[in-house]
Each structure stands twice: as C-alpha cells, then as structure tokens.
C-alpha cells in the first residue's frame, strides 16, 4: 500500500533521513517512534508526498509518488491522505468548525453535507462546544482534537498523524487515539502515527523505530511487532504481573 525505499533527505548539513525503508500494508496501523530529531516528521512528510526525498522511492498503491509533479501530488493528497500536523496548524482566521469544513469543500462536497460531517466529527472528538471558536481561543489539546477531526472528516485512505496527542493529558489522548484507530479500522484506512509516547505506540499493530534517520526495527510487517513479539511474551507477561502486584 505504502512503501519507502532507502529514502535520503537532508536539510543543509543535517541529514534527517539516511536510507530509511518501510513498508506499510493496507488497513495497517503503525507507530513511528524514535528520539527527538531522528527524522520521524520528515519520514511522515515524505510518505505523505508533502516533501520530496533527495534519493530513494516512495510508492503509494504501487505508484511512484516522489516523481509526480506538484499538482498530481496535491490531488493525491486531497483524495487519499489526511494529515494531522505536529503543531496543529489550523487556519487562524477560521472557526474550528470552518477549519474542518474547508478541506471537504475543497474536495468538492456541498456546504450542508460538509457542515454535518464536520459537526459529527467535532462531537466524536469531544470538541463540539468549541465549534464556533477560533484557534487562538482554543487550548492546545482542543486545537489538536480539531486538527484530528479535520484530517478524519474527509475519510482518507491513509491517515498521517504527527504527535496527535502531544498536548493532551492521558485520558484525552486515549480518546483521540481511540477515535483515530477506530476511524481507521472502520473504513479500513491505513494509519501512520508518529509518537514518542509508548502508550500511544501500543495502539498500533507495529512499531517502526527510527534512529538517526534509519529504520532500526519494524521496517516491514514481518519484522516488527506481533510476529516476533511471541518469544518475549512470557518475559513480558511476568514483568507485567510483577508490576501489578508490586
């Protein structure tokens, strides 16, 4: 479904991606983890066709994405991808509701229908009360939830979320992750979440671990997560039990 081969991307002298390869299947939920500055956001932006890698290939549904021109990639993003950016990134002049509606309108949906969809998503993310407020009047957590609503409302085939719970307390984060994963499973969409919260990563089927711009674990479904988790199962179980009775 989504594949990256030996991506390389640098900004000036810093190398953000240094030969990263990943493969993500349809309907899979993956977490991209790694220390700060390890290239998680950059990888996400490359996969979403927002930026172009200097070397390597990005494939979406078998089609090269990195060689497409800007217009084609824009169309692809609009029709297939939903993105939650690391810093929320709402349009400050629009109300929360209008921020969610806007991409739907740009996608060619009618005003009434878009408004209804936006309302129901705001409701699901528990920010219906803020529908008429502008981003400057929202808290960090509310902003993030509106941004998630915006990404989900268009029912994309792939959802990219960069630290979607960064500004949330653990219960609100749980709720947002629940909606993200739920929405993805419901529509068989693929979800790629960048996070450095292990509890968020635990929502994913698999973890893609980045380190200095390289993938150190979980590059493909076979190498990460559940598949090789089995041998460690007993140890983990024992440790968890130890934790509880402590």
């Amino acid at each position: 479904m989504l594949e990256a081969r030996t991506l390389r991307k640098s900004f000036g002298r810093t190398t953000a991606l240094d030969g990263a390869s990943v493969e993500i299947g349809e309907g899979e939920v993956v977490a991209v983890t790694g220390p700060s500055g390890s290239g998680k956001s950059t990888l996400l932006h490359c996969l979403a066709g927002i930026i172009r890698p200097e070397a390597g290939e990005v494939l979406f549904a078998g089609r090269r994405l990195d060689t497409l021109d800007e217009d084609a990639r824009t169309r692809l993003r609009r029709e297939n991808f939903g993105v939650v950016f690391q810093f929320g990134e709402l349009v400050p002049e629009l109300t929360a509701e209008e921020n969610v509606v806007l991409p739907l309108l740009f996608g060619g949906r009618g005003r009434r229908e878009s408004l209804e969809a936006a309302r129901s998503w705001l409701e699901r993310l528990d920010v219906a009360d803020c529908a008429g407020q502008r981003p400057a009047e929202l808290s960090g957590g509310q902003l993030q939830r509106v941004a998630v609503a915006r990404a989900l409302a268009a029912e994309p085939r792939v959802i990219f979320a960069d630290e979607p719970t960064g500004a949330l307390d653990s219960l609100a984060g749980e709720r947002v992750m629940g909606e993200l994963v739920g929405a993805a499973r419901e529509s068989r969409a693929t979800l790629v979440v960048v996070t450095h919260d292990n509890r968020v990563a635990a929502y994913a089927d698999r973890e893609i671990a980045l380190r200095d711009g390289r993938v150190v674990a979980g590059a493909t479904a076979a190498t990460g997560g559940t598949a090789d988790g089995t041998p460690g199962e007993a140890a983990a179980g024992a440790s968890a039990a130890g934790g509880v009775s402590r």
Binding site: H45, A48, I50, I51, E70, D71, T74, R75, L76, R77, R78, E79, F81, G82, V83, F85, F87, E89, V91, P92, E93, L94, E98, V101, L102, P103, L105, F106, G107, G110, R111, Q133, R134, A136, E137, R150, A151
Partner: protein
C-alpha cells in the same frame, strides 16, 4: 538594549528579513514622493514658459494646489501603510520578547529601533535617488526647478525615519499592555463607532451648508464655504476610518453565504483583519473618490463647446495627479499583498500540504481583493459623485445628460479601483506558488 536588537536582527528568519527590506523599499518610495511634493511647491510658477504657463493664472492655481494635495495624501498614506507593515507578526514577535522577560520599555524601544533602522536605510536610498532626479530635472528645465529647496531633503528624510520609529513604538503598544493578549489575540478589535460618527458629521455639515443656499448659520457666505470645506474633509477622513468597518461588514456577509471554499476562506481572512485592508484600500478609495469627483465636475463641461485651453490643461493635470495617486495606491496594495502573504504563509502552506491546489489558493487571494475592494470603491465613487452633484445641483439641473455621464465616470473609477486590487492579487500568485512549498511548514 542594542545587543538585543542586534541579536534579533541576526536571528531574523528569511521572512523577517524580507519584511525589513519591504519596509526599507516603502520608506524609499515615501521619501521620493514627499521630496517631490515639497519640491513642487517651490517651483517658480510665474516663469511664463510653454505649457507651464497655465500655472500662473488664478483659477488653475487652485487646481495645482489640489494636485499637490492629491500627491501628498497618498504619499502620507503610503508611508503609514508601509510603516505598519506586517504589524501582526511583528507584534507576536515582540510579545514573545515580553514573555521572555523584557520590560515594556525595552520592548517598545526594540520595536522602534527595528523599524527606525529599516526606515533610515530605505529613506537614505530614496533621498539619494530623488536628488539625482532633481538634478536631472534642473539640467533639462532650467530655473523653473529651484535648487535651494533641495536642502530640505534631510528634513524629509528625518521625518520618514521618525515616522518609522514612531510606528515601531506604536507597534509595541498592545504588547506592552499584555504580552499574552497579542500572542493569542482571539478576535480582532472591532472598528469603532467614532469612525462612523465622522461620516455622519461630515454629511451633516455639507447638507446644512447646502440647504442654506450659500448662507450658513454663522458667518454668512464665508461660513458656508468653511462648512462645506470642513464637511468634505470630515467626510473624507470619516470614510477612510469607516473603511475598516465597511470591509468587515462586507466580508462577514460574503463569508456567511459562501458556498465555495475559496470565498469562505477569503472572506474570513478579510474579516479577521479589516484594518490592514482598510489601510491599503484607503489610498485606493481616495483616488476613486477624487476621480469620481473630478469626473462629475468634468461631466458638466462635456456639453460645453467653449472649453478653454486652461481648463483642458488643468483637467489633464488633475488626471495626471490621479494617475500618480493610482500608481501609489497600487504600491500600497502591493505592500499590503506582500504583508498578507507573509502573514498567511503558514496557513497556505498547511492547506497546500493537505491537498488544496495552489490555483485554488490563488483564487483565495483574488477573492480577498474583491471582497475588500468592491465595497470601498463603490462607496467612494458614490461619495465622490454625490458631493459634487450636491454642490453643483443647480448646474446639474440645467444639464440633464451630465448626471448620467458622471455616474458612468464614477462606475468606471470604481471599476478601475477594484481592477487594480484584483490585478495586484493576481500578480502575487507566482510568489504564492513559490512560498507554499511544504518545506515552509517548519519555518515557524
């Protein structure tokens, strides 16, 4: 203190530097315009030479005075526009300083120093250019162009720098009050009722003076003249101030009924910052106002066969001034467009990243221009025509065709104004294309 300014200057991002350069360019242009205006008043008008001869007659002299005023008004508005450039972002930056522990005084001085430096750099360039141009004019026109007034150039330069620094001081005003208030300023302050009161007062004075048919409550004939002049001036300033209010209303209406996302976004963006648009469009509005007024006046002479050469020449001169004003307006619009782009860059980059095609974003720019310029130009045109028609109601009554001609002229002026705004917005599209590259997403 100086260290802080230097540090800020060094740490300024690409867009901050672009802002500084824009401001310097604005200061340069304003200096040139102001120098020209100051210099023109000193031209030797009694030197009977060719086409310039008309300036020695009494009636056209009035026209010349009006011309000079026309030149000076856009120049002043332009320097104001430029010095206020990108206040929103700058305020945010200064507020960050405040949060970092700077005292209110330091923040103000930092703002003043920043904009003062830009104004000095640009102003010096402008003064140099103007001196060069004046010398060339002297060389080609001889003693019509006096040399001594050029000594005033440093004064003009000082005024420009002072204006820049003062606007920097003013920019820190809100920040000083509350650092957080600006960082997360929720809704923009609404335009004040006072702005509308000025319009009402102006209209009232005009109406009272005109109703008296040349007689006024006080001072008889002269009183009426003074009342008419004061009413016109009040109306003019009121209109400029009310522009923000007008734009806000128009944008709100447009946003409410918008079906197209471009219109929705454009209307909301205009609604969020009507003052910036009002600043930029006040010059356009003035031009349209004067243009319509001149057009209405001229409409009376269209059916007149004995048009004197003097009259023809003064109309030509007026239109030349209008053209200059229009060019200045376009300059103000360009400056505003650049400012708006800088301020909205991040939003546009995010929208582009989430799949909004760049042409659609280009349409957002043009629709913003339409939403803001249309009401301003229409109101200005109506006001300009209205004032002249009311003043010369008797003449209009005698020439039935004149009204139609002046309405057509006003419509044309309004059209030109809107067109200028739209053209500037269209011209900004290549810049938009370059700036919304998703790489910009980071440069927060």
């Amino acid at each position: 203190m100086i260290t802080v300014v230097r540090m800020l200057a060094r740490g300024r991002s690409r867009r901050e530097r672009a802002r500084g350069r824009l401001m310097a360019a604005g200061a340069a242009l304003a200096t040139v315009l102001l120098c020209a205006a100051a210099h023109l008043t000193a031209f030797r008008l009694d030197a009977r030479r060719g086409a310039l001869g008309i300036l020695t007659e009494k009636e056209p002299r009035l026209m010349v005075a009006l011309t000079l005023a026309l030149l000076a008004v856009p120049a002043a508005a332009f320097i104001y526009q430029v010095s206020r450039l990108a206040t929103a972002t700058r305020e945010r930056r200064l507020a960050a300083l405040r949060l970092a522990g700077a005292t209110p005084r330091e923040v103000r001085l930092t703002g003043a120093a920043e904009s003062g430096w830009s104004a000095l750099a640009g102003g010096t360039l402008g003064a140099a250019v103007y001196l060069l141009a004046a010398l060339v004019a002297r060389w080609s026109l001889g003693d019509v162009v006096p040399v001594r007034p050029l000594l005033w150039t440093p004064v003009v330069l000082a005024a420009v720098v002072l204006g820049g620094a003062l606007s920097g001081l003013r920019a820190g005003r809100h920040v000083v009050a509350s650092p957080l208030g600006v960082v997360r300023r929720a809704r923009p302050r609404g335009p004040r009722v006072r702005d509308l009161a000025l319009v009402a007062l102006g209209v009232g004075l005009l109406a009272a003076a005109l109703a008296g048919k040349g007689r006024f409550l006080l001072g008889g004939k002269y009183g009426a003249a003074v009342a008419i002049a004061a009413g016109a001036v009040l109306l003019l300033f009121g209109l400029v101030l009310a522009t923000a209010w007008l734009i806000r209303m128009a944008a709100r209406r447009a946003g409410r009924g918008a079906a197209a996302p471009e219109t929705l976004l454009a209307a909301r963006m205009v609604e969020a910052d009507p003052r910036a648009w009002a600043r930029a469009l006040s010059v356009v509005g003035l031009t349209v106002f004067f243009g319509s007024a001149v057009g209405a006046h001229q409409a009376l002479t269209v059916f007149q066969s004995d048009l004197t050469a003097f009259q023809a020449a003064s109309y030509a001169l007026l239109y030349l001034a209008l053209l200059t004003a229009m060019v200045t307006s376009a300059g103000a619009l360009v400056a505003h467009q650049a400012e708006a782009l800088l301020d909205h860059r991040r939003s546009f980059a995010v929208l582009a990243a989430s799949g909004v095609p760049v042409p659609a974003l280009g349409r957002v720019l043009t629709r913003q221009a339409l939403v803001a310029a249309l009401p301003v130009c229409v109101v200005s045109a109506v006001a300009g025509t209205g004032v002249v028609v009311l003043l010369l109601a008797e003449l209009y009554a005698r020439r039935p065709g004149a009204l139609a001609v002046s309405v057509a002229g006003a419509a044309a002026m309004a059209g030109i104004g809107v067109l200028a705004a739209v053209l500037v917005a269209r011209a900004a599209r290549p810049i938009l294309r370059r700036w919304v590259r998703p790489g910009e997403l980071r440069a927060g």
